[in-house]
């Protein structure tokens, strides 16, 4: 674990620059805030630009399977930028989680065509596991009906509203298989979500035909791997959210004057921001390390993911809360973008398990057991 390279490559720096440029152009806060009033019209074109024009949808897919053959390092860079922009696109849910699940099926298998379509940005998928599920958490139990079709319902799915295809974990006697079902055949009810820039949906399946893409011997591991990679890379999104909050707040306080002084010169605020800076840098390092362990399939990946989630979720929330507080009244208003980041940060903190859940996982992983019950 000690020799992993945590520094970005030139390729990653270029990738970051392209994504940032596109988002600056196409995804300013004014393009995000309407989703809170139900106007989601900006999402599809933005996602097309990212997925297809920049080719981000296929980052994690090997070249021979139709993707860009990049790794979790590059995906982490993208997520950091998406976090900075609270971009309302299904990159994490489709291009990371669903793609990781599907990749577990070997080349030439049932899901190969779908994987290539996801990689090309032609289709978008979502895994039917609630957003709050930790990698080690309980999976929803879809069953198959008499005709072998998955049936059941699940609440709080991220990415379902943007998806063409739903990946359904089906519990059977031999394990969990995964079926791909056309989104059009499911009932997808939008949920009024704390974070409307990643709006959830409740999904009901009842008789929709699907294709089994992973057998019962492989599905559980594939789904859990999808959740773990999702959790590992979510940390980069959180790091991006935190960085935006810190940078924006510092910038605001460098300009704002009160009591005849630049507000950023008041020492109590300087010290809080210095402490926050340290925490944000720690988050960046932790998120980076988690991404690198995923990219290298390092044995430390599970610990690294739990550490990153235990830290970055709280730091992003703290950064967003400080942004609201230190902007004063304006930070409480709808017209300043700080609220978009607060909502994303708080929702991200609950996504893939709370920091507390990940600390509990670490207790097991590190042999630091809880006290025996009295």
């Amino acid at each position: 674990m000690s020799d992993l390279d945590l520094l970005p490559t030139d390729v990653e720096d270029d990738l970051r620059a392209s994504v940032r440029e596109l988002l600056a152009d196409r995804c300013p806060p004014s393009a995000v805030v309407p989703v809170y009033d139900g106007d989601r019209s900006s999402i599809a074109p933005l996602w097309r630009a990212l997925a297809t024009d920049l080719g981000l949808a296929g980052l994690l897919v090997p070249e021979e399977r139709g993707g860009a053959g990049a790794s979790a390092r590059e995906a982490a860079v993208v997520l950091e930028e998406l976090g900075r922009a609270v971009a309302p696109v299904p990159f994490l849910t489709s291009s990371v989680v669903a793609t990781t699940v599907l990749s577990a099926a070997g080349p030439g298998g049932a899901g190969a065509g779908l994987l290539a379509a996801l990689a090309a940005g032609e289709r978008t998928a979502a895994l039917l596991v609630p957003l709050g599920t930790a990698p080690g958490g309980r999976l929803p139990g879809f069953a198959v009906d008499g005709s072998g079709r998955p049936a059941g319902q699940v609440r709080g799915i991220a990415g379902a509203l943007e998806a063409d295809v739903l990946l359904v974990p089906v519990a059977g006697p031999d394990g969990t298989s995964v079926h791909a079902v056309p989104a059009g055949d499911a009932r997808i009810d939008p949920v009024i979500s704390l974070d409307m820039s990643r709006q959830l949906a409740d999904v009901v399946l009842d008789g929709a035909a699907g294709e089994r893409v992973l057998g019962a011997e492989a599905g559980d591991a594939a789904v859990r791997s999808g959740l773990e990679v999702g959790a590992a890379l979510l940390a980069s999104e959180q790091s991006g959210v935190a960085q935006w909050c810190l940078t924006t707040t510092v910038g605001y306080l460098q300009d704002r004057r009160q009591f005849g002084r630049v507000v950023g010169g008041f020492q109590a605020l300087k010290h809080r921001l210095a402490d926050l800076f340290v925490a944000v840098e720690q988050a960046a390092a932790a998120a980076r390390y988690a991404a690198v362990t995923v990219a290298e399939d390092d044995p430390d990946r599970t610990v690294a993911t739990a550490v990153a989630q235990a830290w970055c979720g709280d730091v992003a929330v703290r950064a967003a809360e400080e942004a609201v507080q230190l902007h004063g009244g304006i930070g409480m208003t709808w017209e300043h973008p700080a609220h978009l980041y607060l909502k994303r940060a708080k929702a991200d903190q609950l996504a893939f398990g709370t920091p507390g859940t990940h600390r509990a996982r670490l207790a097991d992983l590190l042999d630091l057991p809880a006290p025996a019950a009295p």
């Binding site: 957003l131 009244g329 409480m332 509990a360």
Partner: protein, 396 residues
């Protein structure tokens, strides 16, 4: 009214007599309230003739209790918090006799609601930096400017207003305090949407609003002193009297008891810490209230709001984590104007977002820490460059 009651026993008798004369069951609500005001039972610590009896503030609780026991209607104090908590004591302290007679009774009965026009987008915590201008023209003042964070402006009949009347003197010296008719031409109230989706506050645009000079409160240029008194009454109004497990910690404790499936070891430890913090804050408030009742206000009052905001924010944040997937849902983002603000009401997401305002509205936590450090601990004030320069020459 030197023949008024002076002991709790005499006061009890007076309430009984009043109730005999105005039986709550058979009296129109407004009529009852007006009579109560005239009987000096509105706020017994106010002087006779202004709704009071010149008694210690601590006796008010007894009056409320006895009237409530008799089924008397109240004046719906939560609907007019600014009026009762801020405008009334300021009018009492600085108003002319005529102003007191004109404004206090309909304020207390709730016939006229009040709002506050202090904050401005460019001033923030630095109230003395307000730039709304009031220019004298004959017996009137012509006011222009923009105010913000005005709750209840769309329902208020009057506002307390701070405006700059002299830009050529230092910023604290050039302010004057007015009572502004919200129905006057040029007053434009617009909802200000906040992070909860609601518009609990308003922006108020003032364009050539005419205010008669007899609606000036205190002398010209004395606005800072008057406004400071207003803000001090606001701070006194906070704290005390809360029950154990009141507020956000109570909400979370009930969820904890009712939903064992949500419990985690992490949340348990955090809940217990917050419970303890809420309880020691409650005890501090109780001790403070007892000190106030014997006329010894303690300096810890300024800390109550700090503690309250911290606890509410931490607790509501923890609640969302405890709820997990449920915490990712929200009730309603629609832009509405809520009738009442209920910090512990609606859903957990609302509570979390709304609590962020607790450390901003009514004096930010940063300002309160300055106040505590300087006025209570006696530490030096911040180096300032703006105290003596004319307002118009300050960098902005």
């Amino acid at each position: 009214m030197s023949d008024g009651p002076t002991t709790p026993g005499e006061l009890r008798q007076r309430v009984a007599d009043f109730l005999a004369e105005h039986p709550p069951a058979g009296t129109d609500r407004l009529e009852f309230l007006r009579a109560r005001y005239d009987a000096g039972l509105a706020w017994v610590h106010f002087p006779p003739g202004s709704g009071g009896l010149g008694l210690p503030r601590s006796l008010q609780a007894q009056v409320e209790e006895e009237l409530a026991r008799a089924g008397a209607p109240d004046n719906d104090p939560r609907a007019n918090g600014i009026g009762l908590g801020m405008a009334a004591p300021t009018i009492l302290a600085f108003g002319t006799e005529e102003q007191q007679r004109r404004f206090l009774r309909p304020l207390w009965t709730g016939e006229e609601l009040w709002c506050q026009l202090f904050s401005e987008p460019g001033a923030g915590s630095d109230l003395a930096a307000v730039s709304t201008r009031a220019v004298r023209e004959g017996g009137e003042w012509i006011v222009n400017g923009q105010k913000v964070w005005t709750s209840g402006a769309h329902k208020a009949r009057f506002a307390i207003l701070v405006a700059r009347t002299d830009p050529d003197v230092a910023k604290h010296a050039g302010l004057t305090y007015f009572l502004c008719d919200m129905a006057a031409p040029g007053v434009d109230v617009r909802p200000l949407r906040q992070i909860t989706g609601e518009a609990e506050f308003n922006e108020v645009f003032l364009t050539d609003v005419h205010i008669p000079d007899d609606h000036r409160l205190g002398a010209e240029g004395e606005g800072w002193r008057v406004a400071t008194a207003t803000l001090n009454s606001e701070r006194v109004a906070i704290g005390g009297g809360a029950a154990r497990e009141g507020g956000m910690v109570g909400v979370l404790s009930r969820t904890w008891r009712q939903r064992p499936e949500l419990r985690t070891a992490d949340a348990h430890q955090r809940l217990l810490r917050l419970w303890v913090e809420a309880e020691v804050t409650r005890l501090t408030g109780k001790r403070l209230a007892q000190k106030l009742a014997v006329g010894q206000p303690g300096p810890e009052g300024a800390g109550m709001k700090l503690a309250f905001a911290r606890i509410a924010q931490e607790t509501s944040g923890l609640e969302l984590e405890l709820l997990g997937d449920e915490g990712l849902r929200y009730s309603d983002w629609t832009l509405v104007r809520p009738e009442r603000v209920d910090f512990t009401g609606r859903d957990a997401g609302y509570r979390y977002l709304r609590a962020k305002g607790n450390s901003i509205e009514g004096g930010t936590s940063e300002i309160l820490r300055n106040v505590l450090a300087e006025r209570v601990l006696g530490l030096p004030p911040e180096p300032r460059v703006d105290k003596d320069l004319p307002w118009k020459d300050l960098p902005r």
